[in-house]
Symmetry: C2
Subunit: 152 residues, 2 copies
């Protein structure tokens, strides 16, 4: 078991640092939800040439239980095709922060949404925000991945 | 991916073969459902000292997609405690049949239900039924595990 502690931010898409980041390789992510309700989430994710099945418990603020298992890519493709209604596609870019932290910038081309996420070891861990971070949306359900899926 | 082809039968609990089977070791199974609806099933199972996460597609007759992944026992216990409402406990006994097939006899002590299941490679595979098999209930939703859970 892991606990996921994640903070999410809107970003300034026009900032030169972001423009430079978009020139890096990034990872292509395709994901869908077998289940997605207030009790929890069962997610299937294809990421480049790997695939994962992830169980998440209910959200409590910025903390939630998360269990992730690598599964064969062909299982993921079958589950995405047969048991997931909406499929999210996004490009993910890694941006190193100070003290070993890093941000993941997700670009959702289907709905022109750009989000930065920072995973932290504890709820109270502080980190240095890049100056292209804008409003924090960590606890705003509008930006939960399962709700983003509904807008796609 | 595997396809699960499973036939289920009620059994004669008083038959001497069944009485003898009950003297064998068997496996203790504890399982619950993160999701269980017509679209599919996400099941957590603890079986003796191992644990599994299983995704099943919708039922189509006696055939359904099934993906099973071994997971750490402590993950399973956490998922059972936090994300599964009803927990089924059952004792499972293996009974060899002819031609390499075998039956699994499940005893559900919480509701005094005894069921035999036979997994088969194809829908049309025939097998020799033991004389303590009674009515076939393969397609009767009353005997689906997720519905049995609701009666516990």
């Amino acid at each position: 078991m892991a606990q996921e502690i994640e903070r999410k931010f809107l970003i300034d898409q026009t900032h030169p640092e972001v423009t430079a980041l978009m020139q890096t390789k990034g990872s292509h992510i395709k994901q869908g939800y077998i289940m997605s309700d207030p009790k929890g989430v069962v997610r299937v994710r294809r990421m480049d040439d790997k695939a994962y099945l992830t169980i998440k418990g209910p959200n409590t603020g910025i903390t939630r239980d998360e269990f992730e298992y690598q599964i064969p890519v062909e299982h993921a493709e079958h589950l995405l095709a047969t048991m997931c209604s909406k499929i999210i596609e996004k490009q993910r870019y890694a941006y190193p922060l100070e003290n070993g932290h890093f941000a993941e910038v997700d670009v959702f081309p289907q709905i022109d949404l750009w989000l930065a996420e920072v995973e932290l070891p504890t709820k109270d861990t502080d980190f240095q925000k890049p100056d292209w971070f804008r409003k924090e949306v960590s606890t705003d359900p509008y930006y939960f991945n399962n709700n983003i899926a509904k807008r796609i």
